[in-house]
Point group: C2
Chain length 408, copies 2
């Protein structure tokens, strides 16, 4: 018998009607003779004013208690979905993180990570013919504290469950109906991919595609669990994420992604001796400034500079860290530029096609789009450009690399 783990979207649970529709869809899977686990995210339907009350009581409520409060959201949502399934005459059961034995790391600021899932609890329920509905994104640590798994935690729960029960695949229900070569709302000719590799999906995820969280893709890659990304509401074919793709090998670039609100910092030094990449980025990391692209320019005629990009949220923190540590870091000046964006092309075919980056730069030059920073990996090239040029750049690159419907 086939075991399927379905990760639901918030939309699947946004109204009582949607909950009813979602129940029907899971029942359809069950009728096909599959064992079904649904993993439920937190949903707005249940969202009360709890957070507000917590912050009325204290300006710094503790993480442990906030987690205990917020974990109830998915718990309630999963019970409501079970009630809707049972109403239609099918057996179902809700499970919280602790009921499913989802063991996590301790949480000391930041997110807890899943360490273990007791899949036997689900296997037992499959034997009784039950559809199992799990409250996603939560676990318990070694002291039985309730822990939230943070961003991407629900996707990761789905993949971890799939591993624990030997599921045949994970289905991720999303607002879109699959993975596209670019954001279809802004890239007019974006098309849906039939397949994509874990690595390509990882790059797309890290580049701001919100479809599957990279934590979940990494886990799926590690255990070779296929993921299907598909519509949360319509029963149409989605996109297969797996290790090797059979088709479309001739397509070098598989997708275009972009991200707004990038800030470029530039730090200048008197001399090469005084500059230390390690010192600078260790200090930033220690103070939780996430650095993305790093560019070091060492030309003999001029004084050396180091540029790096950060997200907008980290700006104030980065400025403070640099000010506080100016002396020990030994730099002469630091300035930053706002209003930038990152545009990336992704594709595993790039490895064997060294001219891809050059072709990207040529097209951007032809479109009069200035490139402020560059970063490359084996399957990705990212450029930082003015934010106003971002959509223009993405469309041009989509066109340049032939990501057109007829090519599929």
């Amino acid at each position: 018998m086939i075991n399927v783990v379905v990760k639901l979207s918030e939309k699947n649970l946004s109204t009582p009607e949607q909950i009813g529709e979602t129940a029907k869809r899971l029942i359809e899977e069950k009728k096909f003779g599959r064992n079904v686990v649904a993993v439920v995210p937190s949903t707005e339907l249940i969202n009360g004013s709890l957070n507000k009350i917590a912050y009325t009581l204290s300006d710094r409520p503790t993480e442990r208690e906030l987690d205990a409060i917020h974990s109830t959201n998915a718990q309630i949502a999963s019970s409501l979905l079970v009630i809707a399934i049972q109403k239609r005459g099918f057996k179902a059961l809700s499970l919280t993180g602790w009921q499913l034995g989802i063991k996590s790391t301790r949480k000391t600021g930041g997110n807890a990570r899943i360490e273990d899932v007791n899949g036997d609890v689900i296997i037992e329920r499959f034997k009784k013919g039950e559809i199992v509905v799990v409250a996603g994104g939560q676990g318990i640590d070694e002291e039985n504290n309730i822990t939230l798994l943070g961003e991407g935690g629900v996707d990761t729960t789905a993949v971890a469950i799939a591993k624990s029960i030997g599921a045949d695949r994970v289905e991720i229900y999303t607002e879109l109906d699959g993975v596209y070569t670019g954001n279809p709302t802004e890239i007019k000719r974006a098309r849906k991919l039939k397949e994509i590799t874990y690595d390509e999906m990882l790059e797309l995820s890290y580049l701001g595609s919100n479809i599957v969280h990279p934590r979940a893709v990494e886990l799926a890659k590690k255990f070779e669990i296929p993921i299907i990304v598909r519509s949360s509401t319509r029963n149409v074919r989605g996109t297969f994420i797996k290790g090797e793709i059979e088709m479309e090998k001739n397509l070098i670039v598989r997708g275009v992604a972009y991200e707004t609100d990038i800030i470029r910092f530039t730090v200048g030094y008197e001399s090469l001796e005084k500059s230390s990449l390690a010192n600078l980025f260790n200090t930033l990391a220690k103070h939780h400034v996430n650095v993305d692209i790093i560019v070091q320019s060492v030309m003999s005629e001029v004084k050396p500079t180091i540029s790096f990009s950060i997200a907008k949220e980290d700006l104030a923190n980065a400025v403070k860290v640099l000010e506080d540590h100016k002396k020990e870091l030994g730099f002469q000046f630091a300035d930053f530029e706002v209003g930038l964006a990152k545009v990336s092309i992704v594709g595993s075919g790039m490895v064997s096609n060294p001219g891809v980056a050059a072709r990207m730069f040529a097209r951007l030059y032809q479109e009069n789009i200035p490139v402020k920073m560059v970063s490359t990996s084996e399957i990705k090239v990212s450029v930082v450009v003015p934010q106003d040029d971002m959509i223009h750049a993405a469309n041009a690159l989509h066109d340049e690399f032939g990501l057109l419907e007829e090519l599929i």
Copy 2:
């Protein structure tokens, strides 16, 4: 070090301000050098529209899922209280039923009962100097299903915890500031008792006093755990519930209680042979009709009748059961009288004062109050009277048995 279990009232958690006040009060206890466990009920503050959504999804949602949903209320309330305590610089920690290892019986309609509490979890926390806040009224059964303990479950949780950690006492915070000789809103001269025995409190509880649930009083009696009933908001002396009381032994009657909406059924038989108490009350019990007082009249001249009282909610059901089983029960007629109330006097001194019931009837006769039914136990006499005479009767009996301020 003294260990105290405090059962909070809904009012203690009804607004963020109240939560703050409650935090302060628990901290005061802590400052006295006591280890404190607070047991939290469900509260209106958090009550969303969850029940409504559940019933939108299904007209018969399953008990398991409703329990999972409703258990989150006390879970959230306990975390909010912990946040308010921590805000004031004291250590605190919330525990759900399962985190505290509250094992309950399985739930198959009706309420789950507590089987075990793992007090070590709390003792460990005391060692860290933490105030422990427990979500009351919930546990888990042998299959790790979340179970609600139903009516009186929060009081019972408090007593069970006290037993598990060897607490010195349980404090029950209520709207009133103690146990009164009668309801002070209606009995003008009602006064607060300093002490009362478990048995007297049990009778008062069963007779409609909502201060401490009889399940909790029974458990406290079994393990000889003293209970103090006191104001949820003001720090004044309350009432001590314990095994033996030292003072006021001379006071025969300790309290007057009453209950409205009593219905008296009368069933008449052709002959004595045809009447069977066992048949009648077995049939009623099997169909969930709760019978309170039973009176059998067997006079040789007339045909035998059996009268019994029930609560208003059971009327429709009782009529149906009698109609459906008329033939097998063999009675000739059945009628009922509405608009009645029950008034009771309670006191352990009655055992050795056989004239108490007679004195009660004499006073009621003197007040022109007709007595419709009578029921006696070792420490209680109840009468059924017209509802319109109820308050009058209660005041008269309060006066008759000298339950006056100056006697204390």
